[in-house]
Symmetry: C3
């Protein structure tokens, strides 16, 4: 194994740790610590609503105060895929299961994905660009996050009745 | 640390990336890309219903068209355990939280596990055998996936009332 | 890359595998295998109720019999953060999505976090201390797990109406 491959493993670990730190700081609502995971001039885009976009980490910290409209949240990260553009730049996709609780005790869950550009600055991997897309959401979650679009079925496809036993 | 241990770390990363790619291609419904994660002669078994079994990656791609009966899906992978049989073969268990949306907007979630045999062919780790089992499912999910069986309680065990305060 | 960094990667992998093994043995209800992941003199604390505390791995195995009050469970681990205190000690935080099914078929889900102290004994990483906290729970889950406390909003903060289009 080459030293380059080894260093890439360490880079992957650090990038994944940043993604996890975002989730944990968000659940903790430590917005200064959350903003420190981004570059000063980051661009963050959760949806078409201008209130879901931020330019710069200071504006992001301000904007994310909206998460206090939930009483509790829990963000579970998975499915991290890292594609290095060069030694100090990577395009990263990850999934998040994000659970939220309304003040009335009802829940809202989004199944989302983060599309990030990470850059290494002064030895630390930071998020320079983030776009969030929504694979799915339950009926309680209504924020207008960008929709993820999947490929549709071919012409003439019809749904099998796989959810019942074959003999009925 | 030996070079063998280092190479194993890289193998583990590649196997985990294949498991993640499966989830992402399924949510995207890029069934050609999904089938390319399996060996040509793979055996895939989701349940006893013959429509839940496939022999070969081409048949798998065809069979997985059934996932279009859901409007949206989100598959979140975790709990990856890799057991190497030899340098080019590994038994792998992983968990999936799989969310599905019906055309009427209702949801169906399965808590599942993949039991896979990975083999290395031409330098790539591919799934040669896959069996899916179900840890649990909500009432909306009714596909007859193989049930995971846990160990039962000993004779005479009775349930504690731990979900209420001790004084009531 | 130094050899120390490489050994740390292996340590991280082993610790994460122990966290995953806990989840899988719990879903399987192999409580002897679960207890073997802890030190003999471990201290485990899920909540203030004395029935949610255990001293020693034998007592833990006994206490965890309470999980049989659920018919099925599925524990999905994520968000692992490892902080080494020294070569043989680490403080570890992780998240768990824990799904449970009642005998009547209804579900109960907790979004939790494990706060662990791992120690290396005879070459194996074991859990010496575990505290569980709850980020959130649905209305079906009522066990009195320790609450995770997040930072509150500043004085004068008011909730934006981000969940509706801006023009309405």
């Amino acid at each position: 194994m080459s030293n380059t491959e080894m260093l890439r493993l360490i880079d992957c670990q650090q990038i994944e740790q940043s993604l996890i730190a975002y989730c944990m700081q968000l659940d903790r609502m430590d917005l200064a610590a959350l903003a420190a995971l981004f570059t000063d001039d980051c661009e963050v885009d959760f949806g078409d609503d201008p209130r879901l976009k931020s330019s710069g980490s200071a504006a992001l910290a301000q904007s994310m105060q909206r998460v206090w409209r939930w009483v509790r949240t829990s963000h579970h990260l998975s499915n991290v895929v890292i594609d290095f553009v060069d030694d100090d730049t990577a395009n990263v996709t990850s999934y998040v299961y994000a659970w939220h609780e309304n003040p009335d005790g009802s829940n809202a869950t989004i199944l989302g994905r983060y599309l990030d550009r990470f850059v290494r600055q002064s030895g630390r991997w930071l998020i320079a660009q983030r776009r969030m897309e929504m694979n799915g959401n339950d009926t309680g979650f209504r924020s207008p996050i960008h929709a993820f679009e999947r490929i549709g079925p071919p012409t003439g496809w019809s749904a099998p009745d796989i959810d019942r036993p074959p003999s009925t």
